[in-house]
Amino acid sequence: MMFELRRLHPAAIIFNILKSVKDLFFSLLIILVATDFTVFIIALGAFTVLASIYGFLSWYHFSYYVTDEDLWIQYGIFKRTKRSIAKNRIQSIDLTESVIHRIFKLTRVQIETASGGKQAEAALSAVSFQDALGLRNALKNSGESDVEIPEETYLAKKEITFSRLLLTGITSGGLGIIIGFIVVGLSELEELIPETVYDYTYEWLITASIILIVLIIISILAIIWLLSILWTLIRYGKFTIQRTENELFITRGLLEKKQLTIPLHRIQAIGIEENILRQPLGYAFIFAEIAGGNTDGKLADSTILFPLLHKREINAFLNEFVPDFSWKEEDVEWTKPPTAALPFYYVRSSLLFLVASIAVFIFYPTFAWIPLVLFLLSLGLGWLHYKDAGFHLTSDRLLLRYRFIKRITVLVYQKRIQAFGKKNHALERKRGLASMSISILSNSGGKHYHVKNLEEKKIDQLSDKIAYRTKLE
């Protein structure tokens, strides 16, 4: 036995309790709203006792060990489960430390196999740091011997500088997201605020000078913006990427520390994303699509390899960390949509706003300028979509570029393509146009990339090159 049977660190009890609190939070809230206070206190007391007992018992019954071949985990209070995970199936071992973990010098260990999905194959919620390192060694050492594997040598390492981190925060789209949250939040709040407060504020707003109101709005926006910067600092602080012969290691986070392991051979595609603020400044971030395993955060299913790089640095970065996927923008000859495709791009991006403009014009003519401005902006966006779309095929790799709001450039190996599609409707066929799509594997299942309204014959040529095609009959 390489790694003796043991329990998690007792702090796991805290995590178990917290998890029950999270799961039952709403039922408690309902009790608080629906009944009187004494009932709530009694329920809360009973809940706390039960959750503690449950937390303790699940900790007591959870244990794990490593043999020569497998990782074994056994758990369950009433229904005992024993699960084995073959060592050679394990893809990555990720360590995450929340604030609570860091107080006790612990870490959460997540073990992923190729089977994708959001849930980790095995998660050990609280393991002391020493145990975690020992466990990692034991799992990577898939032989019979107990010999320590030599400390891995890092071929490359890149850390984010503070100024770069700040720039990431300033140019992040977080601004928009937070504004969205606040707008939604306010509309919800409306329900809760008593009428009188509402009336009072309203009167005050009318009497206060316009300048004051503008100042308040500006300062609210500024605060929102600062919050989004702060969020970026916390999330991507101390971002470090390191490379060994076969793996990438990513560490990030100021409060919650995350450590990801990415086996290089599981990378399906590498992409560059330029949002509308960063593109004029020449900045972008790099992401990877990985088959199965890591889910880096819940919002994005692509894994971020580096939060912010300048155009000039991208090639060097790719050469160093994912050499198979490096390319030079200068060498790329984009196959772009023909001029005949431009009307399709305009219609697609602006149709909604055109309809909205007409509707608003009919019902509220005084406000018609709002959708009209949006309509003009959307025409501009349509032109950008047209200008940015394209593909480029080299001997074994396919490079795609398209824009929705952000400009995305993706590099895929031909052999990684799971399906190749061509689509067109009657109007497009008449003009010799078609849209293409490729599907690749990502950690959330399939990921599909589309480039719209290209020349049909160019797509046919592309498919001929991609196709293996030996005829069967």
């Binding site: 599609g421 066929r429 399939g446 990921k447 599909h448 001929d464 293996y468 095609r469 069967l472």
Partner: protein, 159 residues
């Protein structure tokens, strides 16, 4: 992708689609008729019900009489040694190439209506996508399934 795939699906597919569409629309008609009966009983306004009926008549024509035929005409497939080539779509024509080495499993499926017409569907799954050939004769479907699974077995690449 210049030439469409060679093989058409089984013509009985049209009947299968017609019947299954009839069932869905039949339910819609039942609801509408019930509402109409209520409307007569309690003097509700007829405008909406007549509007809904007109829409349902149009839908019935489209889904029971027009679309199945068009869909059948468009549906084509062809199997090569190294890939599967599929075409479908009534308005938006889609042609898809699936490399054989990416195929993870092939299933044949048969619902009760399909069983009655002795047809079955074949669904082809890669790690990222699933593609379904909707109706082949039972023998063709199982032949195709066996052939694809044999061809797909050749290469064991990672993912």
């Amino acid at each position: 992708m210049r030439q469409p795939p060679k093989h058409t699906i089984d013509p009985r597919a049209v009947n299968v689609w017609k019947i299954s569409a009839s069932i869905y629309l039949g339910i819609l008609w039942l609801i509408l008729i019930t509402l109409a009966v209520f409307a007569v009983r309690w003097d509700w306004s007829f405008t909406y019900i007549i509007g809904a009926m007109l829409i349902t008549i149009l839908l019935s024509y489209l889904f029971i009489f027009l679309f199945p035929k068009l869909r059948y005409r468009r549906w084509r497939y062809e199997i090569f040694e190294q890939e599967i080539y599929i075409q479908h779509g009534i308005f938006i024509q889609t042609r898809t190439l699936i490399p054989m080495i990416r195929v993870q499993h092939v299933d044949t499926e048969q619902g009760p209506i399909m069983k009655r017409f002795h047809v079955a569907s074949v669904s082809i799954s890669t790690a990222a996508t699933t593609h379904m050939i909707p109706a082949l004769s039972e023998e063709d479907a199982s032949d195709l399934r066996d052939r694809i699974s044999q061809l797909a077995r050749v290469d064991e690449d990672d993912v």
